[in-house]
């Protein structure tokens, strides 16, 4: 319906019959489909997106600066609020970085338990992703089904640490609390329920003609291009690059379990959907192995009363549900706070790929593409 498509109708080459400008549309920061306070400025030619400019910072709370004035344990509370959909993963990444600085040994039981929590978080995060992605494209029912399963995960976490969103679930050296009695049985029950319900999601979406038309070949990005931008997580794997930190640089107890890394081929939105769907099943596989093999022992290692890492700096990364979540911590050896804490949030780096993904697509695809990148503004802005 672009008025501009008729411009060359004029035989008079000097004055076109209709004006064509590039339309500049502003999307957000308040918008039902941008998953938070994200602002995207789109330059359109008719219905096609010519360029996109992402404006962030609306949720900036100064977490990195704040952490320079908190002691090492207090910072765990701050990390909860970055990727608030999968808070325990943030906790884990931070604690492991500090443990690396301290060269602290984490007991085996703690590592197994941490893995279980991390995989439960992966499931919870992917449930939110699936629900909101489907809802943006119009399948509203999937959103509620996913939230119904997520409630079960939140119940498990509530049983463990008392919170549903900001868990504060890890400590430097292990975990604050032990596994509640019967919790492991309930986790296994949840795994069974999840696999059952996934059949529902797949029935509604995977072979659905409309879903396929909205996601196939939308936002294609090749493997090399993805690496060049710095994407990570399911985005990278859907483009064919089999990189997963759980396999390449195992942390927690991942080295002791067998699981597969789903890798896509075409790098389009549909592949990213399939990759994350398969990650559900692999997470269940890991959780089952971890619960079965959960060793006895303490849940926290020998941590000094006052945590004072020696001077130095280190970087440690996790495979968060959204991608590579890394912490760079520099300690000066003297104070009880880090000298500098820098987070490498996966959503922030993945969001840089949005302009490239969106170029050449229609306006209606922008929503689908923001959804497929799976961002959480808390992480992007910190």
């Amino acid at each position: 319906m672009a008025a501009g498509s008729v411009e060359s109708m004029a035989t008079d080459a000097t004055r076109p019959m209709f004006d064509t400008d590039e339309l500049v549309i502003n999307m957000g920061p308040q918008h039902p489909a941008t998953h938070g306070v994200l602002r995207v400025v789109l330059k359109l030619d008719g219905e096609t997106v010519v360029d996109a400019d992402v404006v962030i910072g609306y949720l900036h709370r100064g977490i990195e600066k704040l952490s320079e004035n908190r002691d090492w344990t207090q910072i765990i509370l701050l990390t909860d609020r970055m990727d608030y959909v999968a808070a325990a993963t943030n906790n884990l990444a931070y604690c492991e970085t500090v443990e690396k600085l301290l060269s602290l040994e984490v007991p085996r039981r703690a590592r197994y338990f941490r893995t279980i929590l991390a995989e439960l978080q992966r499931i919870a995060s992917h449930l939110v992703w699936l629900g909101s992605h489907a809802m943006d494209i119009g399948a509203v029912t999937v959103f509620l089904y996913c939230l119904r399963e997520r409630e079960l995960v939140l119940d498990l976490f509530e049983e463990y640490c008392g919170a549903r969103l900001t868990y504060n679930a890890m400590r430097v050296g292990g975990l604050p609390l032990d596994v509640p009695p019967g919790w492991d049985r309930r986790v296994l029950q949840f795994c069974d329920v999840l696999l059952e319900k996934m059949v529902e999601y797949e029935t509604l979406l995977t072979q659905n003609r409309i879903w396929l038309e909205r996601t196939r070949d939308v936002g294609v990005i090749s493997g090399p291009a993805a690496v060049a931008i710095g994407l990570s997580g399911p985005l990278l794997r859907a483009s064919g690059i089999p990189r997963d930190i759980r396999k390449d640089e195992p942390y927690a107890a991942y080295g002791e379990f067998t699981f597969d890394i789903p890798v896509g081929t075409r790098g389009d939105t549909y592949d990213r959907y399939l990759v994350r769907l398969e990650e559900f099943r692999q997470s269940v596989r890991i959780i089952r192995q971890a619960i079965e093999g959960l060793p006895e022992g303490p849940v926290i290692g020998k941590v000094p009363r006052l945590i004072k890492p020696p001077a130095g700096e280190t970087y440690h990364a996790n495979e968060a549900p959204k991608g590579e979540l890394g912490f760079f911590i520099a300690s000066d050896g003297k104070s009880t706070s880090p000298y500098r804490l820098r987070v490498r949030p996966p959503s922030f780096c993945n969001l840089q790929g949005l302009p490239q993904l969106v170029r050449g697509h229609l306006v209606a695809d922008v929503i689908a593409l923001i959804g497929t990148i799976d961002i959480v503004l808390g992480e992007v802005d910190r």
């Binding site: 008025a3 501009g4 498509s5 008729v6 411009e7 060359s8 109708m9 209709f18």
Partner: protein
């Protein structure tokens, strides 16, 4: 008697809307009055016993063609409201054309009064028309008037294809 009242009322309204079409400044209002005009013409057709034609008038003319007029009016950036460049609304050419058309109408009307109606054509009775309106039109269209019908279809097809070709050139 009732028919005469209906006819004169409808005709008055039709003329009123026609005048409004050409006299209003706002183009969109103009188009809307045109729609009203067509609707009342459809009512006139019903009065004449041509129910099928009345519905087609609404469906095709008022509901299709004028919608496209409206699209064009809204999409093309016309200065709003479209002011007539000639404030006195007189134009010698226009006047001449109007007079010529009027003369034509007068000649046709007089000819109609003078010449008797042709006796040959078998017209279906009004009662039959009321029930089998569509069938009667169908028969006439596909037997007596087949060639004009086909020619009209081809004209429309050419127009559609032409429009698409013109629009595609822009891409």
């Amino acid at each position: 008697m009732g028919e005469a009242i209906a006819f004169y009322t409808l005709s008055a309204l039709i003329l009123l809307f026609a005048i409004l079409v050409i006299s209003v400044r706002n183009t969109v209002h103009s188009v809307l009055f045109l729609v009203a005009n067509f609707l009342f013409v459809a009512a006139l057709y019903v009065l004449l016993g041509a129910q099928f034609l009345a519905m087609i008038q609404v469906l095709v003319y008022a509901g299709g063609i004028v919608v496209l007029y409206l699209f064009v009016v809204m999409l093309v950036k016309l200065k709003q409201p479209e002011t007539h460049r000639d404030p006195q609304r007189r134009s010698r050419l226009g006047l001449a054309l109007a007079l010529a058309v009027l003369a034509e109408f007068v000649v046709i009307a007089l000819y109609g009064f003078v010449t008797p109606a042709p006796a040959g054509a078998a017209r279906p009775t009004d009662a039959a028309l009321a029930v089998h309106n569509v069938q009667e039109i169908g028969w006439a269209l596909y037997t007596d008037f087949l060639v004009p019908f086909e020619v009209a279809s081809i004209l429309l097809l050419v127009a559609m294809i032409g429009a698409i070709v013109l629009a595609r050139r822009g891409m």
